[in-house]
Structure formats: structure tokens, C-alpha cells
């Protein structure tokens, strides 16, 4: 299907960086603009019609998130992004449930947003941070079992789909093991929620986090979904307006969920835009999203296998991966690869992709990464490989 009318930027660019941020269809931009033009009031405050419309649209967006991801509206907290959602959890769990010596178990393929907050907590209160090791581009599930049994973690927090390897981890297996040992469970769904159906209640995870801007939504809006009882157990994260029921000079009572965790004026336009993004994504459907991505990923891998100057780091098992292709061109810095591809209007990412420890495990400083979404085409891939051919010629490979 040709999505260029809904994503006009595709008429100019071959955008292969959706893992960094997805493109936004005109419908999302128009929804945000409509808020700013037609009903730009604050939410949960005024009783005049414009304010009530803003509140209704904001809460409608929350319901859409809840519906698509299998949760209740009061379990959906709007944040800025996945990073803020995970920081909220690390901070509040650190305040109330974790103490010095407690083990938090993450994996060796984490994004910094599910690593640095725990390192910060390690500095603040002395938790121990342990890792499930990798087996190639996959998680080492034997090591997972062994770590859970021997380290007895209080929290198991893992990435659902890796932004470098593309690997989709077996969430059910991990959660079953984690929960059987009594650990709280957290899933970083930044790279899975846009690409595959993730059902919060069916999975039985305690908390999950993702970003609106990676699933066609605006930047500055993210989501934390948490079991109602688990969210109620947590202390507030930020304090101020909206998140209170009563404030006295020397005390306060926090608001009910979800407002308890939404202090201050939220990103109203962002949430409304996210609502429009979910409408769009539901129309496309996850079946189609997966079909297109797997087809294109297979095609990239096939073309790459014909070149002797490319090293591939991402998962080659298409059935077990989202559309991510991480690679290096022998002897060429990924930054040069990216800059040269840019001259053909091909957009890829180069660097450590906020996963420095993972790159160290892979034995490489930095990589280049092309990432797919349902709006990409075979033509994008062909142009990508034409660009790589230019790199090869210029560097005399």
C-alpha cells in the first residue's frame, strides 16, 4: 500500500530510522492542530465547554491506549516518553520497595533508559544490578533461569524488543520465571508496542512503558501502564497541580489514579495526537505492520548476504525480530555511511543507539542501523543498497 499521501515526507526521503522516531501521518498533525486552533484549553480544570472538550479528548486518548494495549484507563499514565516512565518506576520503587543489596535483574541488550535509572538507584541506595547474558542475538534463557534462581531479584526489568538487535524476547517465558520467584516485572516496550500486538493484561506484567512518538504519535508523549494495585502501591513521582486531592500547609493527599502520576499541565496536544495515532495504527492493523516489516527485513537480509563488505549484528531470524537491521561496512565509520546515504535522501542512524554496554558485548564501537515501519517499501531498501554501493566505491572496498 502507498502511504505517501498520509506521510508526505516519504515523497522526498527514504526514511529508515523509525526506531529513533516514527513518521507522523497528517491525521496526527491535524488532530494536534485542531486542539490548538479549536479548543486550546487546559484539562481537568475549567467547566466551560472548550475546557470540557479538551478534557474529553485527552481522556479519550487514554481510553484508546488502554483499549489497544489491553489495560484499564486508570492503569494508563501519560508521561513524556519511555525514559520518563522507566525513571518513574526506578525512583518510586527505590523510595518504597527496594533497599541496599536488593537485586534488580535486567538484560545485556538494554537501552540506556532501562539501565541508567537502575545505575542511579545503585548509587543512591546501593541496589545490585545484575544482567541476563546473551546468546548471539538472543537472550540466554538458561542464564535467565540461573540468575533468577540464584540472585533472587526483587525486580526483573527487560526490553521486549531490542533497538539494536531487533530481537523480540520471549516475554511470557521471562515473566513466568520472574513471577514464580516473586519479582516485580517491568517491560520496556518502546520497540515492540509500535510493531506487534502487546496485551498488558494477558501478559500479566506489572508495568510496561513505551513512547508515543515511535508509534506515529507526536514527540513528548509516552505511556506507563501499570496494574492498578501496583500503581496504587507506589508513592507519587512528581508533586504539584493535578496529582493532589487535598493540600494543606503541612500535608497533602495524592489524587486517585491516573492523575496521581500526572503532575502539572500535561502534554495535552501530544496525548490527543497519540489518540489519532492509535486510530491510524488500528486501521493499518498489527497483522499488516508485521507482514510488511518481516517481508522487508527478509529482503534487506537477503541483499546484505550478497555483499562481502557488510557485517550484520541484528537478528537474522526474521520470525523473532522487529524490523531492525544493524550493521557495519568494513573499514568505514558508521557516521560516514550515514552521511553518504543522506546524500541519496536515505535516513539511517549511526552510533551506539543508546546501548553502549550492548555494543561492548558485540565487540564493536558503533554501528549503523536501518529500521523499518509499515510505510517503508522495497524501493527504500533498493535505494539504501545503492547508497552502500557508493560507500564501497568511495572507500575503495
Amino acid at each position: 500500500m502507498d502511504y505517501r499521501d498520509d506521510f508526505p515526507i516519504l515523497k522526498k526521503y527514504h526514511y529508515l530510522d523509525s526506531a529513533a522516531t516514527s513518521l507522523k501521518p497528517v491525521q496526527v498533525v491535524e488532530a494536534e492542530m485542531e486542539y490548538y486552533h479549536e479548543y486550546p484549553a487546559n484539562v481537568h480544570r475549567g467547566v466551560y465547554r472548550m475546557s470540557e472538550r479538551a478534557t474529553e479528548m485527552y481522556e479519550c486518548a487514554r481510553e484508546k491506549v488502554a483499549s489497544l494495549y489491553g489495560s484499564k484507563p486508570q492503569e494508563v499514565i501519560f508521561t513524556r516518553n519511555t525514559t520518563e516512565s522507566l525513571n518513574l518506576l526506578a525512583y518510586t520503587l527505590g523510595k518504597k520497595f527496594l533497599k541496599k543489596g536488593d537485586v534488580v535483574l535486567i538484560t545485556g541488550m538494554e537501552h540506556h533508559s532501562n539501565l541508567v535509572p537502575w545505575l542511579m538507584l545503585k548509587e543512591q541506595i546501593g541496589i545490585k544490578l545484575e544482567y541476563v547474558e546473551l546468546n548471539g542475538a538472543e537472550l540466554d534463557y538458561e542464564n535467565l533461569s540461573e540468575k533468577i534462581e540464584s540472585r533472587k531479584p526483587k525486580v526483573v526489568s527487560f526490553v521486549h524488543a531490542s533497538n539494536v538487535l531487533g530481537t523480540v524476547n520471549d516475554a511470557q517465558k521471562i515473566l513466568k520465571l520472574a513471577k514464580s520467584s516473586g519479582a516485580l516485572t517491568i517491560m520496556d516496550c518502546a520497540q515492540s508496542a509500535p510493531h506487534i500486538q502487546v496485551d498488558f493484561s494477558k501478559l500479566g506484567v506489572d508495568y510496561m512503558a513505551f513512547s508515543g512518538h515511535k508509534l506515529l504519535g507526536p514527540t513528548g508523549i509516552g505511556v506507563l501502564i501499570g496494574r492498578e494495585d501496583r500503581l496504587e502501591d507506589l508513592p507519587p513521582f512528581m508533586g504539584g497541580g493535578s496529582m493532589i486531592k487535598v493540600v494543606e500547609r503541612q500535608s497533602f493527599e495524592p489524587a486517585e489514579l491516573p492523575q496521581k502520576f500526572e503532575a502539572g499541565t500535561p502534554n495535552i496536544a501530544g496525548a490527543i495526537g497519540l489518540g489519532a495515532a492509535i486510530d491510524y495504527l488500528e486501521k493499518v492493523g498489527f497483522v499488516e505492520v508485521e507482514r510488511v516489516e518481516k517481508e522487508l527485513l527478509s529482503y534487506i537480509l537477503k541483499r546484505a548476504s550478497e555483499l562481502d563488505y557488510i557485517k550484520v549484528y541484528s537478528n537474522k531470524n526474521v520470525k523473532n525480530a522487529v524490523g531492525i537491521f544493524s550493521f557495519n561496512v568494513d573499514g568505514v565509520h558508521p557516521h560516514d555511511v550515514s552521511a553518504l546515504l543522506d546524500e541519496s535522501n536515505v535516513c539511517i542512524r549511526a552510533g551506539h543507539h543508546c546501548a553502549q554496554p550492548l555494543h561492548k558485548t558485540l565487540g564493536v564501537e558503533y554501528t549503523a542501523r536501518a529500521s523499518l515501519y509499515f510505510y517503508n517499501t522495497k524501493e527504500d531498501i533498493d535505494t539504501f543498497f545503492e547508497g552502500l554501493e557508493r560507500v564501497r566505491k568511495m572507500f575503495s572496498l
Binding site: H333, P334, H335, D336, A339, E343, E365, M394, S396
Partner: protein, 126 residues
């Protein structure tokens, strides 16, 4: 950056004149983490404070390696006191190319490495 500029920097990258290390030299390193460039500049300075030789080593993109190579080429034969006052704009003049905001770090890493070497060359700066 257009093809012409890039080809020029790639040529220097492929055949740098001053790549290597100076074992008993003064050295300074800098990195540009977002881009993945790590450059070390080595200086061999004589008793009169003149730079006898300069080399660079490390890992970087064509622009960062070119910047380092052109910098080393320029500073050989010059006084360390003068060289340590060089700044980003001086490297831009050597490159004959003004990097975009996204590539400025690739260029700056060489001058940062030089400044870090200068911090260890105190006796020549008095």
C-alpha cells in the same frame, strides 16, 4: 556536505600522512561520544618548544580523521605556545569547510585532543 568535499576527506582518511603514535611524546585524547570518534594527538616537542613531529591515532569518521591529519600537518614546525592557542575556527580554516551542527563534533575532537596534550606540555608553555 557534497560529494566533492566528502571525497576529499575520504582520500585523507584512506591515506593519512600523520597517523601513528610517538612513544615518548606528549599526548592528549578526546572523544565525541554521540558520533563515536576518539582521537589521540601525540607531540614531539624540542627543548626550544618547537613541535618536531605530530601524529594522531584513534577511531573516527572521515571528517574527524581528516581534521586530525590536517591539524598535525599544520602544527609541525611551529611553536607549542602558538599552537596551543588554536581553536575550532582554526581547524575549520584548515579544512576549508564549515561543518554542519551535526558534524561540528567530528571536527572539534582534534582540537580538544590537542588542548588536552597542551595541558601536559606545561614546561614548554612557561
Amino acid at each position: 556536505m557534497d560529494d566533492l568535499d566528502y571525497e576529499h576527506f575520504v582520500e585523507i582518511y584512506k591515506n593519512p600522512k600523520h597517523r601513528g603514535i610517538i612513544k615518548k611524546g606528549v599526548e592528549g585524547s578526546a572523544s565525541n561520544m554521540p558520533c563515536g570518534d576518539r582521537i589521540t594527538i601525540y607531540l614531539d616537542i624540542d627543548n626550544g618548544g618547537k613541535i618536531r613531529n605530530a601524529k594522531h591515532n584513534g577511531y573516527g569518521c572521515a571528517l574527524s580523521v581528516s581534521s586530525a591529519d590536517l591539524l598535525c600537518n599544520y602544527i609541525i614546525g611551529k611553536k607549542i605556545k602558538v599552537v596551543c592557542k588554536m581553536d575550532f575556527e582554526d581547524i575549520v580554516k584548515l579544512l576549508k569547510f564549515t561543518p554542519s551542527i551535526g558534524r561540528a563534533g567530528c571536527v572539534a575532537v582534534s582540537i580538544d585532543a590537542l588542548h588536552n596534550a597542551c595541558k601536559k606540555a606545561n614546561k614548554y608553555l612557561e
